[in-house]
Symmetry: C2
Subunit: 401 residues, 2 copies
Amino acid sequence: MIKIAVMGYGTIGSGVVEVLATNKDSIAKRAGDEIEVKYVLDLRDFPGDPIEDKVVHDYQTIVNDPEVSVVVETMGGVEPAYTFVKAMLEAGKHVTTSNKALVADKGAELIALAKAKNVNFLFEASVGGGIPIIRPLNSCLTADEIEEITGILNGTTNYMMTKMSNEGLEFEDVLKDAQEKGYAEKDPSADIEGYDACRKIAILTSLVCGQQVDFNDIHTEGITKISATDIKYAKQMGRVIKLLASSKKTENGYSAMVAPFLLSPEHPLYNVNDVFNAIFVHGNVLGDAMFYGSGAGKLPTASAVVADIVDIAKHLNRNILIEWSSKKLELVDYKKAENVFFVRTTADKAKIESIFGNVEFVEVEGITGEIGFVTTSMKEETFATKAAELGNVLSVIRVGK
Amino acid sequence: MIKIAVMGYGTIGSGVVEVLATNKDSIAKRAGDEIEVKYVLDLRDFPGDPIEDKVVHDYQTIVNDPEVSVVVETMGGVEPAYTFVKAMLEAGKHVTTSNKALVADKGAELIALAKAKNVNFLFEASVGGGIPIIRPLNSCLTADEIEEITGILNGTTNYMMTKMSNEGLEFEDVLKDAQEKGYAEKDPSADIEGYDACRKIAILTSLVCGQQVDFNDIHTEGITKISATDIKYAKQMGRVIKLLASSKKTENGYSAMVAPFLLSPEHPLYNVNDVFNAIFVHGNVLGDAMFYGSGAGKLPTASAVVADIVDIAKHLNRNILIEWSSKKLELVDYKKAENVFFVRTTADKAKIESIFGNVEFVEVEGITGEIGFVTTSMKEETFATKAAELGNVLSVIRVGK
């Protein structure tokens, strides 16, 4: 019998308890032992809930119980999760977390601490919800140098972009709808400003390069400036707009960015709609691969947490090697990155061509007084200079492959 | 230093040697030790090749060398691969193979033998080429009951179906093209009759249910009957035709089938084109997930083999648990499976409706003297009876979601 504690009985924490009950037998078979929830740590009580008698309010109860060997952290946020998780690892307990804020900020330190204590700190659910991506990067794609990871890593914004695209709605209207459906929070900034996706691509990049990526260094643009008019131009080009979080290994080092991109139907992420997430990976020998699935939601995310528990059960006395040192990775300045840009402007064709040279114009029936164009590939800083020279820019969206 | 032997220096075997050289440093870091190829077993010699001096012609040389701890089998076919692999495992050597024929036929036995010898028998490359799917099923999706696996598992036929769809060509013409490009063999029956996909879905089903699935029990139809006219009807319906290999957990047990299906744009496999493969998985808590990538080819497949070598290097003294017993799984008779059918016939509407009841007719401009229709969902055996009653059936293709 492996006894575990769940810290945080919100959506994901209660999902973990539910998944452990639903698939009890098959999980026990794969883990090699039964998994039993001994404690649920929460500020609240849950009268009438099956875990009612397991609720504790002081994390020290768990720290001090030698029977508990695995702790699940599903509270979210850096503190007090960090203090609690650190104490659990120091007490020789394995930890799995779904908390991307914690992993992005303290990943290297907690991985090193787990290694020193010969336990495991796993975080499959912190990126891509139920999609296996952390374990595949860490233990499947081990023959490759990963040269690119590009993901649709935020279900809320993908739902919104899909709805804007399908129904021609404006940003504010789909945001309201997403909030009503419970996909977006009252304060939606973590999603719509790209902060959530930014933390996730920081985690993936850290895993790929084996060093600590500071998410503050990643240039991040959200979807708040995308309008129904932009969508019309996208349709005219046969493309869709997706919020992508991307990191690439270049000659000069790793570059990373979060921003909306126009994707063509040939792009593997073109068809990833609604709340689904997907992660595209390019390896130097593997070539292109993609992992797709439910990027959020109670049970899919809990599925990933429970898979971590099973992995821990199979490695109770062994640290699973995760290459992610505390040495900081200096990202290439995003201004040096090359991109293709779609621009909407009220400037005239002659001026556009005099500044940008050879461009591809895009005109949409019924839209007057402005024009769209697609640039050739150029450095971000070059584009910024040219765009400032052009003036009268209504919107700018990068163009993906 | 971990010394390995490669048995079979064809496309994949030479790819393994190439990948080990290309990513030597990162592979050594992840494996925790350097990997050195000590022997290459082949009937041929390779004068001028870097491995020239490593070529041996007798597998006993490898069996009897205690320095070799890991053996790569990339010969293909059941014999002599089976004899060689068995001897290697019995000598206490780990084995990784890309050979789906061997794994489908002898998987349970070789897994049990590896376990008894406390070594590993891994086979990531046997399904889906470079796409991680065996390891994800075995060590990532461990919290789930897998209720469905549906894959595009054969790159050759997917290339052909994509080309037929894009260019309106007939089967014979795209087959010739695929042969010229080296995608299809001179004797293409393993691909176009669905035998290759059948072995692969047998392997995946065995892993999911933990028992031995006999690939001979899986109802298998290839793509040889698909015509340019069928493609025109598919386009009219907004669908594409894909060769799917599928297994589902039903109330009465597992059912499995290989056959062409008409897919709508909403299906996760709709956009999987050319030689790419993808595997759709539905878990009872995860929901939908998909794994996509290069399903064949020298380097992608070698990438999967080398990932097995790294996994073995991390488990030199430990058997990685794979649930796949020799107990035979009795599949549900495919005649009892429910499907929706698209039919082309020269029969008239009145007769069609009198036999099939409520159907959806499909007519294509310029095609006369026949009509297409889509049935409601019904058992395979019910459909067969009704189709026989109808007569004048020109083609039948199942309709996917």
